[in-house]
Symmetry: D2
């Protein structure tokens, strides 16, 4: 951590500040120039609050040098974390595929989609029971009944299931769900993250629409700090000025996250683009950039879907995408 002191800062106050740091076991190295004085703080600074330091009237600015996350940091955990669910694996050489409808609508629908995506090679079934909808007048999901239908589809096909939690009070309902998804809008729902750190299940954490990669890893850190090391990171597009796509897929996030963290990283090309014919090129780009998996929306009848139909693939379209993805995984030497 580096502290830039104000010009003509009171020497007594500077000494008091530095003694405070030394009392926390940090070493302070000071460099004085004509216009600026710099203090380098060396040691474990992850618990130092930048804002409080910045509030000192002798401080011009404070900059962090080392990453504020530890459990998620590859520096301290060089080996890839592999998350395993059923026969699916995410991380290391393994590439996992999650597919299914935006929302569970009926037994007929979810079983049909489950069978279709399994036949095409998906390793997990996704389906929303609780749906975060911008409008209170839109379909909000089947709730507990939706989770029951998902379990039914799991029984029929053997595919483990992924579903999104929207409130901690529903946690009990997720006891038989294989991976609990935290949606983009809840990436900084810290009470939820803390609780999921103790839930004993793999977590699929989606990046928030306005959150930096560092904030994303800090949210993963909340779960890891609670003792749950099975976290899959999911890049799903960020909010930018571009309106041609629903969000802007940040493809660089894949290699960056994998560089800074040992956690597996997957991509959701359906939500990133919001346009079905973009799913294939984005899924391929994700593989090429090193992703450990994809999550793709598939609906047996997109135009009658109760939610996000416009971005869903039909089973036949999904099968086409999977052929391309599998061929590319083979080319890359990855295990699909």
């Amino acid at each position: 951590m580096i502290i830039i002191l104000k010009q003509n800062a009171d020497e007594g106050k500077v000494r008091t500040l530095l003694q405070g740091f030394e009392a926390q076991g940090l070493a302070c190295h000071r460099s004085d120039g004509e216009h600026t004085s710099i203090v380098g703080l060396v040691g474990d600074t992850s618990r130092v609050d930048l804002e409080s330091v910045r509030a000192n009237d002798i401080v011009e600015d404070v900059k962090r040098v080392s990453e504020p996350y530890k459990a998620a940091n590859r520096k301290f955990h060089p080996d890839d974390t592999v998350v395993s669910v059923g026969e699916a694996r995410f991380g290391g050489l393994h590439f996992g595929v999650i597919a299914g409808p935006c929302s569970v609508e009926s037994e007929e629908q979810i079983v049909a989609v489950a069978k279709a995506v399994k036949a095409s090679g998906a390793g997990l079934l996704r389906g929303g029971a609780f749906k975060p909808r911008t409008s209170p007048y839109a379909f909000q999901g089947l709730h507990a009944e939706g989770l029951e239908l998902l379990l039914l589809a799991k029984k029929e096909t053997g595919l483990p299931i992924v579903s999104e939690i929207m409130d901690l009070s529903h946690l009990d309902l997720f006891r038989d769900v294989d991976i609990i998804q935290v949606g983009a809008r809840n990436m900084q729902n810290f009470e939820m993250l803390k609780a999921l750190g103790h839930c004993g299940k793999p977590i699929l954490l989606k990046r928030g629409l306005a959150n930096t990669i560092e904030e994303f890893l800090m949210s993963a850190e909340y779960i890891l700090a609670g003792g749950n090391e099975q976290v899959i990171l999911c890049e799903r597009g960020i909010h930018t000025f571009e309106t041609a796509t629903r969000n802007t897929l940040d493809i660089s996030a894949i290699p960056l996250l994998k560089h800074h963290s040992h956690l597996p990283v997957i991509v959701d090309p359906s939500h990133a683009a919001g346009i079905p014919w973009l799913v294939e090129p984005l899924a391929k780009a994700a593989v090429a950039a090193g992703a450990d998996g994809v999550m793709i929306e598939v609906h047996n009848n997109p135009k009658a879907a109760l939610c996000d139909g416009a971005q869903s693939l039909t089973p036949a379209q999904f099968d086409g995408v999977m052929r391309k993805v599998k061929a590319q995984l083979a080319f890359e030497g990855r295990e699909g």
Copy 2:
């Protein structure tokens, strides 16, 4: 709502689509050109799902013409909503001031700040008991004890209190809190919004960092749709590429929100900028742009604050800002 049909769309499919809308009580007006055909949908389209319509293979694009919110819409409720708490009023000619520390730290601290901000003219005391912190290693608030200390400060000063809820399971703890705050990170925590629609208390709803004005009003609509009409909207900056300020205060949001909605709109210049000396010019700008209130962070010892000290004002600085704000309110003919 307007539907743009694909070139050479199958006529039978178009007829089926339009008959479906007519069955929902909507009137369809069609215009055929050389390269595009347009269908105007007229009637109550707030329940039509754009995405499902867009999923039709005969549809090129769909555009909404009327706002998707009703209860929050000024068109249907032309008069300003005024939210009253204690002697504070937000909306119409009334301007309310909320002040206090980012987080409640001790009885001494909260009582001292409460007395100071009351003396300077604040109408409500704010203080965080549950704190959304990016880092799991940062101070997370005093929780139930923090709320008790706030109530103690209320007893001492008579100031009603505002505090942020971070999880619905804490709702019972907020029974004596006067205004429940929904933070930016929870603006689209829809389960929370639904529950607060039935809680019988005024809600201070902060705009999300990546959310449009329309999405902001849709979140307010969730609360209003539940029967709770006491919603105060709070603009607190959005996430942009600019790094000189923590966020970018969207000053235009004030007149826009007041144009489209009858709800009161306040501004949080402390979180928007993250720089204490910007609070005064931004608070004044907010008054000039028509805001119905401000929320300002004040700490009796910013450099020892456990949270967000860098952006807090001292009581003396806050008093200076209040003098300017009051003078400007008088100039504008507003009741402070």
Copy 3:
């Protein structure tokens, strides 16, 4: 400037790097920790290229501590720069008003608008002769004829004129223009900035749509470095995800620019919002935040305007805005 060295950096390479800096007259202060080593570089680092330093394989990261601009920096020029043109003044206590149509269309139009805005209190007439239009099929301005019509309006009313330059080859045509405007799209047209540094005329420099405040000041630095100290900075909105306004007016930029620089700062509420009824609240907010002037689009017949009619005020609307602005300037103790 601070250099963060990689873990286990080769000691010989580190020494070579630091000797290079010392040869440039910089002092190097080093702090070694367990996981990171930091080097503080003290002295005039404005000519050190960050990117080249970062390219060293022993360097993890480089951070600048002092601002990279000097001529525009208030630290070295504490007094406000005042730009004077005719009877208009920008900076210090002075507030200037520039008004006129987006583009000059005819003698009748420009003279009528000039008379109207003068009567309402504008100190300068603006009018575009060369228009930057997104579409090649849109009206591109009257070019040389447009500048002649502006000069005619100046003769009729005595108002000095402001017009935008789009290419350096047109510079000769601007010899009688009083203030040369550099548009947002040319803020980083560095060849143009260099040439305007020698043109002997005041420059109105608009902020680019995707440019930070620091980049904005660096572009001003280009002009100042050429010897031209008459630069007016103009905040006109930045590109964000919000689509309710054409751009997002960054109101915080006003106090920030004035804090870091001595140059006058004005606001263009017409282009920032793109909505005529937002001009008044935004102009008032700009005054409240400390702006040194405004630039407002006025057209005698907005709905027949050949360019940007939707955001133009009528002369009557402009007169209403000016009454509010003047009242507020008086309240603020500014000279309008």
Copy 4:
């Protein structure tokens, strides 16, 4: 084009407005609802100015339905445009590689880099003679001498050359340059685009940092409208809130641009990321997403580079990237 009329719009004014459109050869179809009236405008609306229509006091909003570009539009030119320079081809099945240093620094440097990148398989040599630098104190390029050195390297290696133009007054100096590059900061320098529409040379047009895909295609339209059909589009990252990379590579732009336009699309992973080890995954992702080429920065001594050294690859690193890119092109059935 669709016009949404205000509630209770004066019927006489509406008729006048519609008659104006009919006089321009457009057909008007009107749909009246309880709260809104919609007018569908059918015909060639590319010359209708949205802003002027919006300025009518009877108009609530105007929305474009068809793309405002024609020459660049795939609808009217279904076949891929292929741009050929020397032995390099961009578009259709062809994939072109441009490589070289950010700026030309010396004969020794540029010839060495040219030989190296040719050996690794690059089809064109890039090198900046005029450099757009944020700081006036940074190295600005060797200007005419830089272009001469590039030509020398071309003579030595046979590689055609690409260089960026920064001002139209330099156009004569580019007579022997094979592809003229328009940088991101000049993407909306419309006078330059117009002139390049008549220059008879292929143009490499980079996307602006804050420009949408539609604006990007409108800038290409400026060049095409002048008669020059040899335009290569280059995605190089956009400005977002994320700071971990210099810019955010918009990978979706590749398939979107190719869907809407027949022009070839290449990617510049060096400028997009600003981090050398991200060049390989981003280049591979670009191929996977359907790009028609890449442009990569290579310097024989990045840490001594006078410009952007931090993002340059060494010749050996570039060779490694090329092996991966070529293998992937073969896998994709593209001609490298």
